[in-house]
C-alpha cells in the first residue's frame, strides 16, 4: 500500500486561556488516502475544526501541540512533509492553499469585503500555481460555473455582499477547488444551505474526487450527509475519537454508546413513530473534562464505579478496520446487520 496523503498520529492540542489550559483534541489519529473521503462527525465543541485547522497550521497562537503529535503530508512525487515542525510562515505555503485547501465553516469571513470574488479567486491561483492571469480568470469562471452559479462571468466581478448565503458558500467551494488541491478540508460546507443545494454540492464534490483523486476531510454533524459522501468516518466527542471505521459498519453496527446515541437521536424518515431519544445530560465544559472515558458522564449504560471513570479505554477492533474506544469485554459480538 502506498503512503496515505495525510497521516495524523497521536494529535493532542491544548489552548492556553485565562481560565487555564484547555484540552481541545487528545490522542487523535487518522489517515486519508488519495481519492478517499473521511467524514469527521461529533457535537459542537468536540474539536473537529481545531483538528482540521492543525493540518494547515491555522490554529491561533495560544495553541500548543504535544511533543509526540505528528502530522505527515505525503504528496505523491514529493518528499514527505512534517507539518508540525514547520517554523517559518513561508515554509507553510504548501499546506496553505497549495496541496491542502480548506472550505471554512463561516463563508462570510472567507472573502475580503472590498475585493471582488473574481479577484480573490485569481489571486489564490497566482499564488499557488504557475498560471498566468488570463488563464487564472478562465479557470475561476469555469469553477464558478461548476458549483452551479449562473452567469459566472458576471458574478466574477461582484462582491461577497452581493451573493446570497448559499451562493457565497458555493463560491468558497469553487475557490478552494480551483487550485486542484491534493487534500480538501471541508468544514461544515453545507450546513448553511437548504437540502436541494446541499445535494448538488455533495454530488459535485463526489465528481471531483473521482476526477482528480483528491482526498477529502469532510466535517459535519449531519450523519445523513456522512452516509452520502464518506468512505470512512471518525466520530469525535470532547476531543477524542470514540469510533472509526467504514461508513457502512459504523452507521449500521455502531459499537460505541455515543455513536448509538447520535443515531437514536436522529429523526428517521422510514419510521415516523419511533421516539426521538436525546443523549442524556449536557456536554461538559472543556474546563471540566471527565476523567477516564470522556463520555462516561452521559453514557446511559454507565455502571457507577466501573473503570471507565478512571481509565481511558483503548481503540479496540470491532471488526476489520472498525474500532471503538471500549474495553475489549464491552465490544459487541459481531452480528449480522439488522436490515
Amino acid at each position: 500500500m502506498s503512503a496515505p496523503l495525510i497521516d495524523v498520529d497521536n494529535l493532542t492540542i491544548r489552548f492556553r486561556t485565562d481560565e487555564g489550559l484547555i484540552t481541545a483534541v487528545e490522542n487523535v489519529s487518522f489517515d486519508i488516502a488519495p481519492g478517499e473521503v473521511l467524514g469527521l462527525v461529533g457535537e459542537s465543541g468536540s474539536g473537529k475544526s481545531v483538528t482540521a485547522k492543525s493540518l494547515m497550521r491555522l490554529n491561533s497562537g495560544n495553541a500548543e501541540y504535544d511533543d509526540t503529535s505528528r502530522i505527515t503530508l505525503n504528496v505523491p512525487g514529493e518528499p514527505s512533509l512534517d507539518v508540525l515542525s514547520l517554523k517559518r510562515e513561508r515554509d507553510m505555503k504548501p499546506v496553505r492553499g497549495g496541496a491542502i485547501s480548506m472550505i471554512f465553516q463561516e463563508p462570510m469571513a472567507s472573502f475580503a469585503p472590498a475585493i471582488t470574488i473574481g479577484d480573490q479567486m485569481v489571486e489564490q491561483l497566482l499564488l499557488h500555481t504557475d498560471m498566468n492571469k488570463k488563464r487564472a480568470k478562465e479557470i475561476s469562471i469555469e469553477m464558478l460555473d461548476r458549483v452551479g452559479i449562473k452567469e459566472p462571468a458576471k458574478r466574477f466581478d461582484q462582491y461577497a455582499f452581493e451573493f446570497s448565503g448559499g451562493m457565497r458558500q458555493r463560491a468558497m467551494i469553487a475557490m478552494a477547488l480551483s487550485t486542484k488541491p491534493k487534500l480538501l478540508i471541508a468544514d461544515e460546507p453545507t450546513t448553511a444551505l437548504d437540502v436541494t443545494i446541499q445535494a448538488q454540492i455533495i454530488d459535485l464534490m463526489k465528481d471531483l474526487v473521482s476526477e482528480f483523486g483528491m482526498g477529502i476531510l469532510f466535517i459535519t454533524h449531519d450523519l445523513g450527509v456522512i452516509a452520502q459522501t464518506a468512505d470512512r468516518v471518525a466520530v469525535m466527542y470532547l476531543g477524542r475519537i470514540m469510533e472509526t471505521g467504514a461508513v457502512r459498519d459504523v452507521i449500521r453496527r455502531p459499537a460505541h454508546p455515543y455513536t448509538q446515541g447520535l443515531i437514536n437521536a436522529l429523526p428517521k424518515l422510514d419510521d415516523l413513530d419511533a421516539p426521538l431519544t436525546p443523549i442524556p445530560g449536557d456536554i461538559p465544559s472543556p474546563l471540566e473534562r471527565p476523567s477516564g472515558c470522556v463520555f462516561h458522564t452521559r453514557n446511559p449504560n454507565h455502571v457507577p464505579g466501573s473503570r471507565y471513570e478512571r481509565e481511558v479505554p483503548p481503540m479496540t477492533e470491532v471488526s476489520p478496520g472498525h474500532f471503538a474506544a471500549l474495553f475489549p469485554e464491552d465490544v459487541p459480538a459481531l452480528q449480522e446487520p439488522v436490515r
Binding site: V195, T196, G224, A227, L266, P267, D282
Partner: protein, 283 residues
C-alpha cells in the same frame, strides 16, 4: 370541522426593490397569494428552499411584516383579530396570544440579564402581572415546564449550553400564555442529541398547554417527525399542503418530489443524486 385558529386568505407581501422615476416601482413578491388554515391544537410545518418566504409569512402572522394584500384572521374562541387591521390598543392582547421562538439560542439572549429576568421581561413589558411575587410565580411555573430549575434562574445565559439556552428562549416565549407560537428554525443551531430533547419538549408543551405551532424548518426529517400537517413554499407561492404522512408517502407537486429526493439518506448504499426542480419543464 371547527374554525381554524389562523386563517390566511390570498396573502401577498411585497418588498420594494429600489426606486424608479416613471411607472410602478419594481417589487419583490416575498409572499404571493397564499391560502393556509392552521387548525387549533395542530403542529403545522412550513418548508421550502432558502428565500421562499417562510420567515416573512411567519412574521406577517405575528404582525411583524407588512401585509400588502389579503387577510390573516386569528380566532381562539375567546378573541378574534383581523391581523392586518389590529387597533393599537388591541396589539398588546394579540402579542400575548401569538409569540415567536427564535432560531439562534446564542444571539437571542441578553448576556447581562439573569435567566429569571429574561423570562420575566415579556410579562413586565406588557404589564401582565400585578406584583413581583406574581411575576416570579409565573416565571417559576413556565421554567419548570421547560425543565429549568430555580438554580438556573439565578444564573446568566453565558453559563448555559445550546440546549439549555433554547429552553430559556422557549420559556420566554411561553410565559405570557400564548395560544399560537411560530418556531422559526428553532432547532437548526442545535446538535442532534439536544435537538431531540427540544423537539420532545415542544411536543409535550403543545399537549399540556393546548398550543398551536407553526414550525418553520429546512430539515424535512424533523418536520416529518413532529408536524401533523406540512405546507411547502417555493418562490413565495404555496406548492402543496397535506397531512404529514400523506405528503411524505405520496407527494403530488413536482417541487415537493424534488425536495424529498434531496434529503440525505442514512443508508450508505442509497446514494442517488437528487432530482432538480425545473419549473419550466413542469409548468
Amino acid at each position: 370541522m371547527s374554525r381554524p385558529l389562523i386563517r390566511i386568505k390570498d396573502l401577498s407581501i411585497h418588498f420594494p426593490l429600489g426606486r424608479r422615476l416613471i411607472g410602478q416601482p419594481p417589487v419583490l413578491k416575498a409572499v404571493d397569494g397564499i391560502n393556509l388554515d392552521i387548525p387549533k391544537g395542530s403542529f403545522v410545518g412550513l418548508v421550502g428552499e432558502s428565500g421562499s418566504g417562510k420567515t416573512t409569512l411567519g412574521r406577517a402572522i405575528l404582525r411583524a411584516a407588512p401585509i400588502t394584500h389579503g387577510s390573516i384572521t386569528y380566532d381562539d374562541g375567546q378573541r378574534t383579530f383581523d391581523v392586518a387591521n389590529i387597533k393599537p390598543r388591541d396589539l398588546k392582547e394579540y402579542r400575548r396570544r401569538a409569540q415567536l421562538i427564535f432560531q439562534d439560542p446564542y444571539a437571542a439572549l441578553s448576556p447581562r440579564m439573569t435567566v429569571r429576568d429574561i423570562i420575566a421581561e415579556p410579562l413586565e413589558v406588557m404589564g401582565l402581572t400585578k406584583s413581583r411575587a406574581e411575576t416570579d410565580e409565573r416565571v417559576r411555573e413556565i421554567a419548570g415546564k421547560c425543565r429549568l430549575n430555580l438554580e438556573h434562574l439565578r444564573r446568566y445565559p453565558h453559563a448555559f449550553s445550546g440546549g439549555q439556552r433554547q429552553r430559556i428562549s422557549i420559556a420566554r416565549a411561553l410565559v405570557t400564555g400564548p395560544k399560537f407560537v411560530v418556531a422559526d428554525e428553532a432547532v437548526a443551531a442545535l446538535d442532534v442529541s439536544i435537538q431531540a430533547d427540544i423537539l420532545n419538549l415542544l411536543k409535550s408543551l403543545q399537549r399540556d398547554l393546548d398550543l398551536t405551532f407553526l414550525f418553520i424548518s429546512h430539515d424535512l426529517s424533523v418536520v416529518a417527525h413532529v408536524c401533523d400537517f406540512v405546507a411547502v413554499m417555493y418562490h413565495g407561492k404555496m406548492m402543496e399542503q397535506a397531512p404529514t404522512r400523506q405528503l411524505f408517502a405520496d407527494p403530488q407537486h413536482e417541487y415537493t418530489k424534488c425536495l424529498l429526493s434531496a434529503i440525505p439518506s442514512l443508508d450508505p448504499d442509497d446514494r442517488r443524486p437528487a432530482r432538480i426542480y425545473n419549473p419550466e419543464e413542469t409548468a
